[in-house]
């Protein structure tokens, strides 16, 4: 079985859930892990950032499921 690359999008947010950094289509084993001022990091299906136009400064709303 040929391996699917399975890239992801990653969004780093600060305490007020304001986006401090976005990285698109990261290959999971090459993740850049840090972002200054970040409190949480969100893993998303690749393409989510582009589709939603998410960028630094945006405020995200999310809740536990």
């Amino acid at each position: 079985m040929w391996f699917m690359r399975f890239p992801i999008d990653a969004v780093w947010v600060d305490r007020s859930r304001r986006v401090v950094k976005v990285r698109e289509r990261l290959r999971p084993w090459l993740l850049a892990a840090s972002a200054r001022g970040a409190d949480e990091v969100i893993e998303l299906p690749a393409g989510t950032i582009a589709r939603t136009g998410t960028q630094a400064g945006d405020e995200l709303q999310y809740e536990p499921v």
Partner: protein, 205 residues
Amino acid sequence: MGALSDLVLPRRCSGCRAPGEWLCLECRDACEPEPLALGRALAGRAAGTFAGPLREAIHALKYGGEHALAIELGALVAAEVARDLARGAVLDAVVVVPLHRARLRERGYDQAHLLAAAVARSCGLPLLPALRRIRRSVPQVELDRARRAESVRGAFVGVAGSLRGLRVALVDDVTTTGATLRSAAAAARACGARSVRAYTVASDL
């Protein structure tokens, strides 16, 4: 507590119905551990295939609300972790693939968490609750059905830097497509994990 639950619900093997344990030694011996085919980016092992006694046991764990079974199945997973450790793999912590909270409320417990706790205890590794599941909480009325499903599917969120430099053993009960494990592994790496290996009770890949 164990004695009381024995009175209420006598322990029987999920495989052969023999009394005494949730998965008897013979049925445990019948499990054949295997590598998880998750691709180059993520190595992992399952204690067996999702069939026979193991399948029955996992169903009992998921839907029967049986806590003690988590310890027995956790021991099977711990054996796979120990096997890797014996072969020179270095692992610093156990991280669980979290259950959706809605399901947690419905069941009252998180079987993957119970499993991971048992694995961590057996292997002497800390259990780190590094990941959570989330969904977007903006109004979704304007979204079409497909997008809504995607949005509800949920992403993982972790505390930035909380796994910095750690070599992580990711634990879940069963994997079918591998997608959840791969997502959780990516999230762990995004939290700074140096490396991730995945472990499940059973593989349905």
